[in-house]
């Protein structure tokens, strides 16, 4: 399974959720191949996707929230997993053992286990997706969606 296939499987599993994607290829490939209302693409702030998702869930307990991290992002933001489990928040880590966005350098082995974390093994490599949308568009589209979902 490659990254896009993993992302598509997650999106299909949570059709009504707000989904926060971590920066780098996760956001880039999601915005290219699995774009949908309710997606929020982080462009930077590495290691912060889980915290953003937790904040979103706390603000809007009525919403299902999904966070999709890469393994490098997840390792960097691991401290935030202290707040898990959280009902209605689903946390996925796409694990390919490398920092793919920066050139497929080896990452430290992601051998963290948490009952509230679903690790999905994916292949190394990238589909070569174009850059994601601008931050202005990402935020405007997401706010339009979330404000119409009350």
């Amino acid at each position: 399974m490659n990254r896009v296939e993993g992302i598509k499987e997650i999106v299909t599993r949570h059709p009504r959720a707000a989904i926060v994607f971590s920066n780098g290829l996760t956001s880039r490939e999601a915005s290219f191949a699995a774009d949908r209302p309710g997606n929020f693409y982080l462009l930077h702030g590495m290691g912060e996707a889980l915290s953003v998702g937790i904040g979103l869930k706390l603000a809007r307990p009525d919403l299902e929230v999904v966070v999709v991290d890469g393994d490098g992002n997840a390792a960097m933001g691991l401290a935030a997993s202290a707040l898990l489990p959280m009902t209605g928040l689903h946390y996925y880590v796409l694990d390919n053992d490398v920092y793919e966005t920066t050139g497929s350098q080896p990452a430290s082995r992601f051998n963290f286990k948490h009952a509230a974390m679903a690790v999905i093994e994916i292949e190394k490599g990238t589909i070569g997706a174009p850059l994601p949308p601008t931050p202005e568009k990402i935020k405007a589209d997401f706010l339009k969606w979330i404000n119409s979902n009350r």
């Binding site: 462009l43 937790i54 979103l56 706390l58 603000a59 990402i138 935020k139």
Partner: protein, 173 residues
């Protein structure tokens, strides 16, 4: 320097601006969700603040606040100045990048000579550091509790980060 006062141990302190309870009550009028990493200067403030989510790192507290804001809340962080060193990338990569406001109450540790040595570097650099991070400061010492509403108006009116600075002695500990 303002006219300083002394505590019961004879240590110099900045003037008292308000009680911890008054600061908390004023914060609760402007903000509806609180997070951060505890500092002993907030010891008497934090018990009044609900809901409050303690976070393990200041950068994660800031990212949590970003998520809260996307969900329509008016979040407020409470952190020690040393935590500014951790949150820079989250601030540029989330709040500045997506033009999203946030307010952080920052204790300015390390300004006074008697404070413990580990605070002194941050004591010398806090104001400058906030400027470098493009965070507008509102100083409790200068404007009293008005700083709380001023920071809120700025942050959530202009979608920019703001800090409320608290000097040692401004709030009862």
């Amino acid at each position: 320097m303002p006219e300083m006062r002394k505590d019961e141990r004879g240590r110099e302190l900045f003037p008292l601006v308000c009680s911890a309870a008054d600061l908390a009550a004023t914060l609760l009028r402007q903000y509806d969700y609180f997070t951060g990493v505890p500092d002993s200067m907030f010891r008497k403030v934090l018990p009044h603040l609900q809901p409050y989510v303690p976070m393990p790192r200041e950068n994660h507290a800031l990212a949590l606040a970003f998520g809260l804001r996307l969900g329509g809340k008016r979040p407020c962080l409470l952190i020690q100045n040393s935590g500014l060193g951790l949150l820079g990338d989250a601030l540029f990569g989330l709040h500045h990048l997506y033009k999203t406001g946030v307010v952080m109450v920052v204790t300015w540790r390390g300004e006074l000579p008697w404070e413990e040595p580990q605070h002194h570097h941050w004591g010398a650099k806090t104001g400058e550091f906030l400027s470098v991070l493009n965070v507008k400061s509102f100083d409790l010492q200068e404007t009293g509790l008005n700083a709380v509403a001023q920071a809120a108006t700025y942050a959530y009116g202009k979608n920019q980060p703001a800090a409320i600075l608290v000097h040692r002695g401004n709030v009862d500990e």
